[in-house]
Symmetry: C2
Subunit: 212 residues, 2 copies
């Protein structure tokens, strides 16, 4: 085909949204359909919830272990949410990007800001919004395991989180999950086609420009 | 749905490529599948080719008419190629963009540069590349109506045109036409989801940010 398999550095692909906007479902569907992107697994000090698996949903660790990683500079970003700590380990991210694979980050606006500053890598950020307040509240209340206090606290946090939508590169309103997955897939496909980020350009092309 | 149908200004979507890279086929397939984008029809002083239709492929006009339009500032971009003049009329473009519709431009690197400077609008540019030199030559030779001299001249022009690929936002290598149409469609879909360009954001979202 004339392709020489030129290496590229992977894209850091950030999905943020308030809790209840459907981001986790969208992320899972994207990961299932695209073998070229993997999930960044965060470390957290919060207790494991029913159905979660250590090392897959999060790495569940003790607060002292988290503090030690943080002090050593092993975290690309970290935040405290409702008294629990969350952080992204630096090494697996660097290794994945260097191998030319993309990484999906499921982090909040604080994490996104820190990632932009601490990582010199190529970051693309997408904010997932619920279609309406009423729909968001309905989704938050449908988690039977949560108390009214937790729901209200989460609504307040959602409003704060959503106020940061203008800081993101792309905005997807999650009306229909299939449509939203298609949108996020299109964004990732387009970003891979950006000039300077492309893999496998024919040799004669790269030689045609004095700029490279 | 909570959507208020917020108006947006359309995107100027530029496709450039050397002659023979398959851009025209890609443009036609994109236009056929996406009712939200229309083609910008250029004015030209070159003779009509067999199969072309006036007002659809180009507006075919006399050199004096072209000069008058150019002098009045009615052209967003214009270029002379092989002794013939080509130009994009300003008014239909402005009207389409103001109506919130996107426009596809099939222009070369010179036209793209001029469009960037003369139009203050939102421009997204895509360069279509052939998979190899050999394939490009094969495609240029398959146009039976052209003489050897025309083919050689077009090969030289193709090399010049392709040297400008790093000036474009996106690069699509046209190996398979269906794949390339999917790529161009993804780029357009993603660009419509860019923050600040989105239509139909829920009201509660825009009110959540002090930045707007």
């Amino acid at each position: 085909m004339g392709s020489t398999g030129i290496k590229r550095r992977g894209i850091m692909f950030v999905l943020s949204s308030p809790s209840g906007a459907g981001k986790t479902t969208i992320a899972r569907m994207l990961l299932a359909s695209d073998p070229a992107i993997t999930m960044s697994v965060s470390f957290t000090t919060r207790p494991m919830r029913p159905g979660e698996r250590d090392g897959i949903d999060y790495h569940f660790i003790a607060p002292e272990v988290f503090d030690a990683m943080h002090r050593r500079g092993d975290l690309l970003e970290q935040a405290t949410v409702f008294g629990h700590r969350y952080g992204t380990p630096r090494r697996p991210v660097d290794e994945t990007l260097r191998a030319g694979r993309d990484i999906l980050f499921d982090i909040d606006w604080q994490g996104t800001q820190q990632l932009k500053h601490s990582a010199r890598a190529d970051l693309v950020s997408v904010f997932i919004l619920p279609p309406s307040w009423a729909e968001l509240e309905r989704r938050l209340r449908s988690r039977a395991q949560d108390s009214e206090e937790v729901v209200l606290r989460r609504m307040a946090k959602a409003a704060d989180e959503m106020s940061h939508w203008p800081e993101y590169d792309y905005i997807v309103v999650n009306r229909q999950v299939d449509e939203s997955v298609a949108s996020v897939t299109a964004i990732l496909a387009a970003e891979r086609l950006r000039q300077g980020r492309q893999i496998g350009l024919p040799d004669f092309v790269t030689s045609l420009s004095a700029e490279r």
